[in-house]
Amino acid sequence: MQLAWLIPVFPLIAFLILLFFGRLLQEKSAYVGIAALALSFIYSVLALFERVGGETYTYVFEWMTFGETSLTMGYEVTALNAMMLIVVTVVSLLVHVFSREYMHEDHRIHVFYSYLGLFSFSMLGLVLAPNILQLFIFWELVGLCSFLLVGFWYFKPEAASAAKKAFLTTRIGDVGLLIGLVLLFNEVGSFAYADIYAAVENGMVEQPMVTAIALLVFLGAVGKSAQFPLHVWLPDAMEGPTPVSALIHAATMVAAGVYLVGVMYPVFLASETALTVVAYTGAITAFFAATMALVMTDIKRVLAYSTISQLGFMILALGTAGYVAGLFHLMTHAFFKALLFLGAGSVIVAVHHRQDISVMGGLWSKMKITSVTFLIGALAIAGIFPLAGFWSKEEILASALLNGNGFLFGLALVTAFMTAFYMFRLFFKTFTGDYRGAHDDEDEADGHGEDDHHGEPHENTGFMTMPLVVLAVLAVTAGFVNLPFIGYPLEGFLTAGLNLGDQPHGELWLAFLSLAVAAGGILLAWAMYYKGSISEDFFAAKAPAVHKLLLNKYYLDELYTAVFVKPTVAVGRFFWEMDKGIVDGMVNLIGRFTSTSGRTFGKTHNGQLQTYGVVSVLGGIVVIAIAFVLRGYFG
């Protein structure tokens, strides 16, 4: 679509308006952002329809030139990014609406909306990019927005620290991506996807270079999509406002890593080694993050670990040739995870800005819309028929089983069980039982007004419930776009014109197995956290060491600090001492110059120009004199 460039431009305009006039608009800033995203959404729908009709549009212009080479920028609409445009604009629009209520007490709401606009612009720009360099540019910009929004409450030291950690950790991955794309450019002579695909398919890029490039590019995805071992930033990023967690740290930006692997898929297909690494990284991350989600008590942290785990699922799918499965799950996950996060936001507002599930409970009767939609989200992510997660997760399991191996499949299955369990642990502890948050006067973490802490939890206004309802509908229906009974329409759409090989499909028994596993997880959670027939502390008591290990996130933060951060600073300090040593040596050497300088400047304080003239001539003579002294060494 020729007008597709407008899709990112609307939120950019919103950003600029709010940057300059936000202070005047204050709460009305929300409507500027909402209007911009609504327009982007409409244009995205148009772009999708046109793309389904088979039309495509590419536009490029010369951006930079060196020697005979030109680098170009532009935009294009492909099947994959048409789907992404819908996902991003839908979630972003709903988050814009939700935040109108969620953030209305914050006097910097205009800043918040300007950042949201900048983020939407960057994310949409990333998606529309026709070349990997442009993707990288916007990739870094979404990272900037993530930094700004995680650190939105900059006065909280945890937020400031989390923002830095998010940026730095992802930058480690970005270094890999940058090297990868520079190497790729030197091989192919272009950053354009089309040229890269052609070169790789023609075997122009040979082994082991293609493997190196694929792995380096994947490192970027590992950082952005919070895969092990660079996942440590995402849970901390929960310090940002909850709508931000929903939009950036669940639905869109963190999925950019998955998108990157998708868009570079021909490069990965050219390297068996790279695909294997991708598959194992995904499976291990999925499992490993799920184990931590089992024990967290902060509602947002549970969801954060769940996000890491689900991203691991997508990466696993891509690593086992399940191109469509991975991207299909990206789409369904975006909807149900945004739903869960916004639901969590609704809960957090209702319980007076607390996030610990041990002070929640009993909300089912107090906030019906939030409860029901959250339940739908939980069922969807657990993979219950016929909700969206069921369809996409089943395809991932199929791909791990058919193209992977028993180990990968086993990990995925266990993870699916844990997913159902931790989600329903969260659900039961939050919404059922008795409300445990009354008469609790501690915990003022957010710095919100004192009057906030009184009163029973109650349902929020339409600004917050409407997005929940829309997302709940999508969490139910989004899976239908790739129904087996009607010939996997999404698959046909995404793979048309690309050589991506046959997509794996599971047999019926796999669907039943996956359902059974999910149901098992829910059942166990029900027994422990609703019925109480198994003690909540059952596992913690059985294996206290494991429980402690999980609570402490495998001590990875501590490990990284000890292994990377502290030695780097120590080396810096050492060099600095060395530097000062040289300086001190210099001090002695030129000590006599400085002692005379005091007098020189003392005289020049009279401000007589003649003195200046003399001094400057003297300075020149000093220079020449030194030159003569040293002549013997250099002549």
Binding site: V182, V569, F593, F601, V622
Partner: protein, 510 residues
């Protein structure tokens, strides 16, 4: 007039300085306006030059040569010209100078002298970028030294005298080495061409050393020595490890405007000289010492970043970041590729804007908090949100955020180094990887600094601070705008540089 626009560029600041000399010192506002006006005229001239410059033509444009004096058989000419390497740096010089003049409108101490020296400095800097005679080049190079010496020594901080003398002696030492090397280069060529006369013309010497008689006649050892001596001279200016220790002192003590010019323009003279004289006259030696230059570049990047990481003074942090960023210049030119050379020149321009902005921000914040100690700050986003916002933007530019100029230079330098010919730079990939990893450290020190200064709980003692004043918006918005302009659409710059770069690289490669 437009025919000798380069001459006008050099003369205009001098005329401004002379005019200011005639004004009584009490009329500070007249002096300030006149200084600003002079710099603005120079800026307009440099933009006209930018517009008139023929992008497609290799070689010197706006060329002028006047006989100056003869000393025995030595012919010294007033020879000036501009190509794709100098035109962007001329524009950078006038822009940064104008903004530093605006930034120093708050100076009340000896206003008249301050602007006289600044305008003399402007002439010197522009002279360096247009001079095509080695003697003239040296003269202008020296002409920048003295004003900066006074700017630091009179208007600087507590240790200003120490810092200014250290600056003078260190860079003077570089000048001395440069001067002697120039003589040697000249004498070697003159001996070969004898009895034909030989001038100090860089253009003529370049020809003599690349295609002419001196190319074969001057021995490899001699050429190598000359190249290394030249490299050392310019390395002090850039500065290159281990000749960098003058820089942090000079910056910490210098007044804001002087820091802006020092980092924004003066350092670039080192890079410019290295490319113009070193690579221009002895391209074969550039290829020969490519590994050395690249290794030093990587050391600069990592060493500067690690030192910046542990600084306790915000201005010293920015100073060390300059050292780190100049490593990119070395890396780019050492790759001897079009991309790398393009990246080096981009970095000269880009770092000029970004470092000037960073130093301006540090100065603006210092003028309010009265401290540069990082641990004393904190919560500035609350106390002075606009300044903190620009500070953050400057930090983002400095860490190479795409959409800003620093990213383009880093990208080009990396494309260059990874694509460097193996016979010239056998360890290119290893060096490239280390250099790219350096950008993690860059992000680390900048973000950590931001976390400790602009983020964090608001401090009681900074409650009443005044946020950005109207006059402060001029340098902040201006410098940031140029950074973003180049970052978003680098073609406007690469278009000017490219032909010169192709020409330069073809001489080294071929």
């Amino acid at each position: 007039m437009m025919g000798n626009i380069l001459l006008w560029l050099i003369v205009v600041p001098l005329v401004g300085a002379l005019l200011i000399l005639t004004i009584p010192r009490e009329y500070t506002n007249v002096i300030r306006s006149l200084a600003g006006l002079t710099a603005a005229v120079a800026l307009v001239l440099s933009l006209v030059l930018w517009g008139m410059f023929d992008r497609g033509a290799a070689g010197m444009q706006f060329y002028e040569q006047l006989e100056w004096f003869t000393l025995g058989f030595m012919q010294v000419n007033f020879e000036i010209g501009a190509d794709g390497l100098s035109v962007p740096l001329i524009a950078l010089t006038t822009i940064v100078t104008l903004f530093s003049i605006v930034a120093s409108f708050t100076i009340e101490h000896r206003v008249k002298e301050f602007y006289v020296w600044t305008l003399v400095l402007l002439t010197g800097m522009l002279g360096v970028f247009v001079a095509l005679d080695m003697f003239l080049f040296f003269l202008f190079f020296e002409l920048t030294l003295i004003p900066m010496f006074f700017l630091i020594g009179i208007w600087g901080g507590k240790m200003r005298e120490y810092a200014s003398f250290k600056f003078l002696i260190y860079t003077g030492l570089g000048s001395g080495i440069m001067f002697i090397t120039f003589i040697v280069i000249y004498v070697q060529a003159a001996l070969v061409s004898f009895p034909d006369p030989m001038s100090f013309s860089i253009v003529e010497l370049t020809e003599a050393y690349t295609e002419g008689a001196a190319a074969g006649a001057v021995g490899g050892a001699m050429k190598g020595g000359m190249f290394l001596a030249l490299f050392t001279a310019f390395a002090i200016k850039l500065p290159v490890f281990p000749f960098h220790t003058w820089l942090p002192n000079a910056h910490v003590e210098a007044p804001t405007a002087a820091s802006m010019i020092l980092a924004g323009v003066l350092l670039k003279m080192g890079g410019y000289g290295l490319i113009r004289v070193g690579f221009g006259i002895m391209p074969d030696q550039a290829a020969r010492f490519a590994t050395l230059i690249a290794v030093l570049g990587v050391i600069n990047i990592i060493y500067g970043a690690l030192l910046a990481l542990v600084q306790t003074d915000l201005k010293a942090l920015v100073a060390y970041s300059s050292i780190s960023h100049m490593g990119i210049v070395l890396l780019g030119i050492a790759s001897i590729t079009e991309a790398g050379m393009q990246g080096a020149i981009f970095q000269l321009v880009s770092h000029g804007f970004i470092s000037a902005l960073l130093f301006f921000m540090v100065g603006a914040i210092y003028s309010r908090t009265k401290t540069r100690t990082i641990s004393e700050m904190g919560g500035l986003s609350h106390s002075v949100p606009v300044l903190a916002g620009f500070m953050l933007a400057a930090a983002m530019a400095s860490l190479g955020l795409p959409g800003m100029s620093g990213f383009v230079s880093e990208l080009m330098a990396f494309i260059g180094i990874f694509g460097a010919p193996a016979e010239i730079l056998p360890q290119a990939v290893t060096l490239g990887v280390i250099a790219v990893v350096g950008i993690i450290f860059t992000a680390a020190y900048l973000l950590w600094a931001m976390q400790r200064t602009t983020f964090g709980p608001p401090k009681e003692k900074y409650a009443g601070l005044v946020d950005a004043k109207p006059m402060e918006y001029v340098p902040m918005v201006g410098l940031l705008a140029f950074t973003i302009l180049i970052g978003v659409y680098p073609f406007i710059l690469s278009d000017v540089i490219n032909t010169t770069v192709i020409d330069l690289v073809s001489k080294i490669g071929g």
